[in-house]
C-alpha cells in the first residue's frame, strides 16, 4: 500500500464517518417521535453492544473462532458482572490472553 493510498483512506474514512454520525440527527432531530419508538430505542444499546462483543470475541474474519482472547474476555466478563471496574476488566482480559498465548 502506498502512502498516498493511506492518506486517501484516512480522508475518506473521516468523511464517511462524519456523514454517518450526522445522518440520524439531521433526519430525525427536533421532531416528536411516536411513543413506540422509545421502546425500540431503549433496546438498541443492548442489541448493538452484544453483537459487537460476540463478533469481536467469537469471530475472526468470516469464521467463528474461539481463542485465548475469548477466554480472557470471558473471565473479565465474570468480574465485570460482579461489579469490577472497566479498567480492571480490560487489564485482566489482556493478562489472561497473554498468559494463555505464552504457554
Amino acid at each position: 500500500m502506498s502512502t498516498a493510498d493511506v492518506w486517501l483512506v484516512i480522508g475518506l474514512c473521516a468523511a464517511v464517518t462524519a456523514a454517518i454520525k450526522a445522518a440520524g440527527p439531521i433526519a430525525l432531530g427536533g421532531r416528536e417521535l411516536p411513543p413506540w419508538f422509545a421502546g425500540v430505542i431503549q433496546l438498541m444499546a443492548p442489541a448493538l453492544l452484544a453483537a459487537l462483543v460476540c463478533v469481536s470475541a467469537l469471530a475472526e474474519g468470516d469464521e467463528w473462532a474461539v481463542g485465548a482472547d475469548t477466554a480472557g474476555v470471558a473471565v473479565a466478563g465474570v468480574l465485570l458482572w460482579r461489579g469490577a471496574n472497566v479498567v480492571v476488566g480490560v487489564l485482566v482480559a489482556a493478562a489472561i490472553t497473554a498468559a494463555l498465548r505464552a504457554v
Partner: protein
C-alpha cells in the same frame, strides 16, 4: 447546569477513556507496523475517531484490499451509528447543521452512558464523556505510533476491544427485555458472520431492538393509552 452535566460526563467516561488509551495505543502500533507513517496513524485517530472503523480499514489494507474496500469496511463498521444517531436525534436541539455538528460527538461509550433510560439522552453529559475519550484516544495513538516493535497479540491487547464493549453491555442489562434484546442481537450477529461482510452482522443485529415495539413507554413515562393493546 450544562457545565455541570458536561463535567459529570467527563468524569463518568474516565474508565472507558483509560481502556480506550490502551486500545488506541495498539492501533498506533499496528498501523505503523503495517506501513503507515506515524503522522498518518495519529491523524486518522484525530479525524476518524472510531476505533472499530480504524481497525477494520487497517486490516483490509493489510490484507491487500484496495482503498474502496478499506473505506467500505469502515463505513459498514460505523453503520451502527445510524441507529444510535436516530435514537439520539430527538434529544438534540437546533437546526439541521447544529444537530449534525452535535452528532459528531457520538461514540459508543458516550451514547450508552448518556442514555437516561426512558429513550432520551443527556446531551451535555454525552459531550463531556466524548471529550475525555477523545483526549485519550488521540494521545494513545501518539504513544503507540512512536512505541515501535510491540507485539500486541503477545500482550493480549486484542482482548481489550471486546472487553470494553462487554463492560458497556453489562451496564445496560437492567431489564428482562434488555437481556432479551442482547441475546437476540448476539445470535443475529453470530449467525451472519459467515455470510455477510464485516460490519453488516452488527448493523442487522440492531433489528433485535424491535422486540421493544410492543411496550411503548419507558418506566414512569406517560402511557400511550390510545394504542391498541
Amino acid at each position: 447546569m450544562a457545565r455541570e452535566r458536561f463535567r459529570s460526563g467527563c468524569r463518568a467516561a474516565i474508565p472507558y477513556a483509560i481502556a480506550g488509551f490502551v486500545l488506541s495505543m495498539s492501533f498506533g502500533v499496528l498501523a505503523v507496523d503495517a506501513g503507515f507513517p506515524p503522522a498518518a496513524a495519529i491523524v486518522m485517530s484525530a479525524i476518524v475517531f472510531a476505533g472499530s472503523a480504524q481497525f477494520t480499514a487497517l486490516s483490509v489494507m493489510v490484507a491487500g484490499g484496495g482503498v474502496g474496500a478499506a473505506v467500505a469496511g469502515a463505513a459498514l463498521m460505523n453503520s451502527r451509528f445510524l441507529p444510535m444517531g436516530i435514537a439520539l436525534a430527538p434529544s438534540l436541539p437546533g437546526g439541521p447543521a447544529k444537530r449534525a455538528a452535535q452528532g459528531q460527538a457520538l461514540v459508543d461509550a458516550s451514547w450508552a452512558l448518556s442514555a437516561r433510560g426512558d429513550g432520551s439522552f443527556d446531551r451535555w453529559f454525552l459531550f463531556g464523556a466524548t471529550a475525555t475519550q477523545y483526549l485519550t484516544w488521540f494521545s494513545g495513538t501518539v504513544v503507540g505510533a512512536f512505541a515501535g516493535g510491540v507485539d500486541t497479540e503477545k500482550l493480549g491487547l486484542d482482548a481489550i476491544y471486546p472487553t470494553f464493549f462487554l463492560a458497556l453491555l453489562i451496564a445496560e442489562l437492567r431489564s428482562g427485555r434488555a437481556k432479551g434484546a442482547a441475546a437476540l442481537g448476539a445470535l443475529i450477529a453470530l449467525a451472519l458472520v459467515p455470510v455477510a461482510p464485516p460490519g453488516v452482522p452488527i448493523l442487522v443485529a440492531s433489528l433485535a431492538a424491535l422486540i421493544g415495539v410492543r411496550r411503548a413507554e419507558g418506566p414512569g413515562g406517560p402511557a400511550g393509552e390510545e394504542r391498541a393493546p
